[in-house]
Symmetry: C2
Amino acid sequence: MNFLRSYLPILDWGRHYTRDALSNDLIAAVIVTIMLIPQSLAYALLAGLPPEAGIYASIAPIVLYAVFGTSRALAVGPVAVVSLLTASAIGQVAEQGTAGYAVAALTLAFLSGGFLLLLGVLRLGFLANFLSHPVIAGFITASGILIATSQLKHILGVNAGGHTLPEFVMSLLSHLGKVNLPTLLIGLVVTGFLFWVRSGLKPLLQRLGVKPGLAGVLTKAGPVVAVVASTLVTWALALPEAGVKIVGAVPQSLPPLTLPSLSPALLQSLLLPAVLISIIGFVESVSVAQTLAAKKRQRIDPDQELIGLGAANIGAAFTGGYPVTGGFARSVVNFDAGAETPAAGAFTALGLAIAAVALTPLVYFLPNATLAATIIVAVLSLVDFSVLKKTWAYSRADFIAVAATILLTLTLGVEVGVASGVGISVLLHLFKTSRPHVAEVGLVPGTQHFRNINRHDVTTDPNVLTLRVDESLYFVNARFLEDLIQSRVTEGCAIRHVILMFSAVNAVDYSALESLEAVNSRLKDMGVGLHLSEVKGPVMDKLKTTHLLHDLNGKVYLAQYDAWSALAAQPSRRAAE
Amino acid sequence: MNFLRSYLPILDWGRHYTRDALSNDLIAAVIVTIMLIPQSLAYALLAGLPPEAGIYASIAPIVLYAVFGTSRALAVGPVAVVSLLTASAIGQVAEQGTAGYAVAALTLAFLSGGFLLLLGVLRLGFLANFLSHPVIAGFITASGILIATSQLKHILGVNAGGHTLPEFVMSLLSHLGKVNLPTLLIGLVVTGFLFWVRSGLKPLLQRLGVKPGLAGVLTKAGPVVAVVASTLVTWALALPEAGVKIVGAVPQSLPPLTLPSLSPALLQSLLLPAVLISIIGFVESVSVAQTLAAKKRQRIDPDQELIGLGAANIGAAFTGGYPVTGGFARSVVNFDAGAETPAAGAFTALGLAIAAVALTPLVYFLPNATLAATIIVAVLSLVDFSVLKKTWAYSRADFIAVAATILLTLTLGVEVGVASGVGISVLLHLFKTSRPHVAEVGLVPGTQHFRNINRHDVTTDPNVLTLRVDESLYFVNARFLEDLIQSRVTEGCAIRHVILMFSAVNAVDYSALESLEAVNSRLKDMGVGLHLSEVKGPVMDKLKTTHLLHDLNGKVYLAQYDAWSALAAQPSRRAAE
């Protein structure tokens, strides 16, 4: 039973479901449903899929996440970045608008779901940590720019294409002569309106006496107003005849039963993009879920989240959708609107199902330019170059990771960009630990403390060299320490004893062990003793299984002061340099 | 002048060159020359090149290393592992025995030399550290097996081929019917003799009253005896007519002036192998040089070694050679024979030049089987599976790295093997640091020390949670700490304060900083304080540039005891679990 409960969190909260929670969940669901209709249509457009795919992708996945997920407020469905990644991945295997394209989207969702489930069952959620915060920040910013640029074609009413910033720009420039003016007008007006809603509407409503909470929710309804108004205008003025592209006929239907393709060639070419989409989606989703959970002192289980998101994606694959994850905007609206349990998500799904059956004829005259404008305004809020400034101030390595990720994502595409970002972060981390901080320390007079001789007035002894190593020792930095000791001992020939102070050494791997053995035997050849001090328990446990301690041309001291007391013969005061 | 001296170590030792050093260097040079003649021929055979290439590769490179290198005893020339790597790399672009094959070898040496010089000028020698000791040990052992197996065809007198162990074995088995008996007989006798020389001759000589040092040098002359004896037998019995393959005509000439090919296609296909050969050769060379230097309390400069080896390889490219590096066997003989300065190397080069001009007709009847036997006996001493046992006992991660390197090198070839080994080591290291040791600590009564509550009887306070983090915080483990704190605080609802004890945190990267900010803001939402203690100077310097300390919902304490004194209200004694 406990086993079942750990895999089915619904058994946990479902047993205590109250009438109050029900009414709160219902209210949240209505608000989220209204917000999701235009958003789902827009993201489907971004992914290059027919508009209904966006709605279908919000129904079954929400229900499945409600059963398997651990967050109380997360709203699962299509999101901007995953839609862009989907378009980029499928664009390489099928032509937009063909049946193969839609099947590839189902297959991508299927693979992504399978990969997430696999990680979840194997409890490998920590793999997502390889995406460092700077890489994610750089990637999101660059994706925002790519998405916004990709949508400009809908605003201009031209047939441009591409997958990278230079491609988009070149393609748009070459189509500038074919701009459709009515489309451009709609696009600009809607974009301007939505920007005003974001920045100006909420303060205005509050000045008019509306409560801040309600004002926030009303602000989120801005896209709905834009959708209704531009649809009416387009219908009334018969703008499609003037070349304005519209959503057109959307089938009135519940999500259909669909099957992903299992063709080995397709699976193989979509596998890597699916892994990427899974991990990026998971990271976005977990950040949102964790932030919302903390506000109510609840917690989420990242490994179970993998199961929840995996089930949601499998669901999308069999009901005409495409890859989904927990979205930031929709989850925050859900939370702010008072959702208490995942049941709110189930009610949202119900609302969207009704919309899919009954309301789709109403969006027939909705211009694509309006959807593009909602996307542009949404994603531009993700663009944030301040991370460049912040990382520059804090750490050059992190800055390089962000800058490279942004640059490569914009110029070589989302997949190369994020993969290079991960590779660069790992290399820079290894580089930083490859030359660890090693301080020569001496005794602070009147205490048992040892500090850096270059920063403090300390007592030293020309016969005793004490080095405090501020890093775990492993293969990348093992030789560095070897070289350092070698150079220190040959320079100052008075040295009779070397003490390595291990207070900050959290691990010693086999390469470092062999380096220590080599240092020991070289120092022995020179008639110099090698001693260790303040070795941590777990490190000592490991070293005890080896010959090093037995062959050591010196001793292991519990405290550095013990080593100093035993070895220093002619201490002399030394001022900081 | 100092700048010149740092790039031309010869200016350093050359000015103090004495008559004593000269005579010591001359004696060493004679001994090394005699040993090098058969070894050079054998390694050329292993690399798939004509025998003279091995001698040429030992002349100019030795002189250039003497000018630019920093080791006093290192002997540069063809070595077993690099010869194997050369054969494997060139075998993919040219047919053995063709002119294109020899030109590809020159080009490989040229690329390798250029890469080493580049690393040296950019002072990037530490990149070699990515080859961990377990990966090197596994690679050397697997290479030894591959080399020995590849030479069996010469012992059997058949035309087998291949690049991996399964290929070698299958090819040998399919040729078993064509074994040449006289060749096999020579091969077995020489192999047996050489093994006996290694294990039985030195003790015998010492029993006969020969001094240990001289006995050691005489033992190294074993291959020379085998070469002379088997050449005489082959000539006297006219064995080539019975199908015994011999070295045959070797041009009597000084090293010719040759030019590497600069064809872009060739350069591109040899670039990666050249990088691999450079790094492996560099690692082997530096280990040998460092060990020998330590014995005389001298030191070598790894970055200048890159320049020395780079120059040696460029030299090999222009004088009919192939990639070279500092060899273990020849350097030890040079050192044991009393070489004092790199001039010994220059005299060795002179000796080999004389041999190339005058002595090559003498090796006409030398059977290939003899050369193969010297290679087999030399490389089998490199095969050492004990590293599997040692790493298993010390650390599973290192064991996996060794085992994977051995297995992949044997089955998929040297390049895939060593590249996978590096990749696996890096991933395992990141994996280990991704779930750092985090101990909940309490106060040891009567002291100011804080220890793990699960190992010691300590005082704790239900309102205060102190976690000692035993790892630097960076992107791979940042979320782990975030999750851990979240789960601990939601579990124990009495907790009012969380103290993170940073005594073993050597660095905090930007991702970890953002995680700490997230933890801080979530704890603030829960009304829980977040405090830091024992933050190191360099870490504190970084944190001071950020908003974290300003926004911290708590304080930074110099010592953990200060934090405890300020925050613990109702301490209670708690026994270890």
